[in-house]
Symmetry: C3
Subunit: 202 residues, 3 copies
């Protein structure tokens, strides 16, 4: 039940991340292939890097519904990018849901492969945030992830909560629910109140 | 026989892609190591990503003649880049041959590892086009692949033709020949008639 | 004994590369997460790519002290970046020590996995230099590695020396010491006398 909800949120996150990739392609005046490639890389890039690092089969080789979701989303966004722009104020919130889902899933997968807790938290962050990092690099933009935004930090906090419950308290349902909600809440507060991490003092 | 021709075209494609990397290094005023690295990454980058994703041994670890071809090409281009520039109108056509050969080989390898048809087509596109993508990113250029060019799309069409014949009709010789020729033709028509994919309507 | 010294130099190199990543984050006005991510990627990126290509377990999954070194270095640099800037003239020299250590270790690991000598030298270069390459790409800077600097070339020469002694003369202690010293010397001379590789003649 929790597993199925998480699965649904994972699909949702895939579509949302694909939208952010496609909108970037739109901003950069790319063509349809640019939309497809940038949307797909944004949606599956983080999980792909996680799987390569953990030496497990890349998830979308068998679960290719993720590719279909990303491709369909890219095509839809290509033809209807105007409404996406007009209503873009919901987009960061949808992105936050994807961030939270991907973070929990990445941490969970790493723990299930007996990664140590620190590695597991890292894998959650990478799953959630490195797709967007690749998107920004391919588009020639300064990576959002590295600049003044509560983004990876939300995944960091949520991942720690997940590991705390799943690894040390051995309470996996609470880990999924709380890991997800805490990531979402931290990111949501960041969006709502324009929270930033400080830059270095000079 | 067909296998040997494809092998030859693969070597040719490796050299051509290395030339495009080296010419980019030249444009960016890089030094000899820049030529070597950019040429090599362009020539073997796509196949490397394919092999990592499919979890098979990276091809140039054992078939290191590819490294030699890329390195020699880089050095030659370093010393004789002027003629390459003067005669650069043949370069997109040579590049198209490389694109077609790499596409067929990438699709073939993926199918031989029992990847599903959609994945196989993706692997063909990545083998053919992601070396150039890395080249552009390292050089700080907007990736050609993502912009208004029939490039990855040619590999997409050729890959579908390959899969159609090899996977569904089980006729592998036709698959190689037609996959190659269709990729070459689509890309060639794109070059000749300046075909572009549309950007999103705004 | 030699092994322990090399291990110590490896830790030192990890910290120094993390400093260069953190200083880049500082220059680009990134936040704390930017410092952490860029420092870590610079410090462990080269070795990670090496391990993925050689299909061996990524080293920091088990030896996570490397992550701790990178993270602590990033945080320290975040709070005390001023002195790093003021005394930055020692930094290229410290970086040269890291380059030499990483080069020897990368070459050694590749040879221990029966890679052929050319591949082993490549792996040394990648271990030593690709972390910095990723740093520059993420920061949107022209990669230092590809431009007019004796950098990868120092690792190339040192790697050849290493392979010469370890693979052909079977004298591994001399290989470590000479591979390290030659890389350091070539890079050091490059820094001291502003040696550059030539760009292509135009």
């Amino acid at each position: 039940m929790i597993g199925e909800m998480l699965q649904g949120l994972d699909y949702f996150g895939t579509a949302v991340f694909a939208v952010t990739g496609a909108l970037m392609a739109d901003r950069k005046r790319m063509d349809m292939m640019g939309f497809l490639i940038l949307a797909t890389v944004t949606a599956i890039g983080g999980g792909t890097i996680r799987d390569l690092l953990l030496d497990r089969p890349v998830f979308w080789l068998t679960q290719w519904e993720y590719l279909v979701i990303a491709a369909v989303t890219a095509i839809v966004t290509f033809y209807v990018s105007k409404p996406f722009h007009q209503r873009a104020n919901w987009l960061p919130w949808a992105d936050a849901v994807g961030l939270a889902a991907f973070c929990v899933i990445g941490t969970q997968i790493a723990l299930s492969m007996d990664a140590n807790p620190m590695i597991a938290v890292m894998m959650g962050i990478m799953t959630a945030a490195f797709g967007g990092l690749i998107r920004d690099v391919l588009a020639g933009e300064p990576p959002l992830l590295l600049h003044r935004e509560i983004y990876a930090s939300a995944a960091l906090v949520g991942g720690i909560v997940y590991v705390l419950f799943a690894h040390w308290l051995d309470w996996s349902i609470a880990a999924v629910i709380l890991g997800f909600l805490v990531t979402l809440a931290v990111r949501g507060l960041g969006i709502r109140y324009h929270w930033h991490l400080p830059s270095a003092d000079r």
